[in-house]
Amino acid sequence: MMYYRCMGGRETQKGQGIDVLLRPELNMALTALADVVEEFAAQEALSGALPINLNLVLDELITNSVSYALTDAAEPVLRLRLWRDGDMVVAQVEDNGAAFDPFKEAPKPDIEQGLDERPIGGLGVFLVMQLSETAHYERDGDTNRIILQMRMES
């Protein structure tokens, strides 16, 4: 599989989805992510807030992968798949780093707390859970896998 490169005006077919490797470095991964989401949004004619929300949840998950799971990996691999299933967009993020379940590790923010009490962490995973219809983690051999669904606007 190839690393993702934005081809610019590439003819992609509706329904085929996107399956790419991202370079496991934050800057390159997030820059490529924005291009992947833009391409997928065009492919599936995603509208409204969905493209930017999809970018946001994947940004949070990829940032976690690169910053936590993959830091000690000898040959880090970061893979992103996007496809459509009925009225759902399905996204899958995989890395080969140390076992890391962001939904379990992250503190759950209490959004009723005031300015001084609010902990600084946990916001990213909280956003992922709030913006996704479903989101779950699984460890499969050497792979961390997160699969999430977001509903398309009718």
Binding site: A49, L56, D59, I111, I120, L127
Partner: protein, 116 residues
């Protein structure tokens, strides 16, 4: 490949306050730029800050953390941070995270400045 993560933070001084106008996208790759712009003002003793978000079209949790810490640091120094002109995406993440309740958010810059 477009540089999607570009961020600049132009600022102006207005009515004894500093208006920071972050432009572009803020995520984990460039959040130190925003952090640096805030720190620079704090170190100069300027503690009345308006974050005019009119030109900011994307923010991740990395950026939210910097805004939360800025509001906290300013308050600790007897100052204040106020926010205005939120895009739809930023308004939504403020609502989901409850930031709209703990940060001072206003519709436009004039209203924001008036509360400082």
């Amino acid at each position: 490949m477009a540089n999607q993560s570009s961020l600049t933070v132009p600022s102006t001084e207005q009515d004894d306050a500093v208006v920071l106008c972050p432009n572009g996208r803020v995520d984990g790759t460039n959040v130190t730029i925003l952090q640096g712009a805030v720190r620079e003002r704090l170190e100069a003793g300027q503690t009345r800050l308006v974050f005019d978000m009119v030109d900011l079209n994307y923010i991740s949790s990395a950026g939210l953390r910097v805004l939360l810490m800025a509001a906290r640091d300013l308050q600790a120094q007897g100052g204040k941070a106020v926010f205005c002109n939120l895009s739809e995406q930023i308004r939504q993440v403020f609502e989901i995270t409850g930031f709209d309740k703990i940060l001072a958010v206003h519709g436009n810059r004039e209203d924001a400045l008036a509360t400082l």
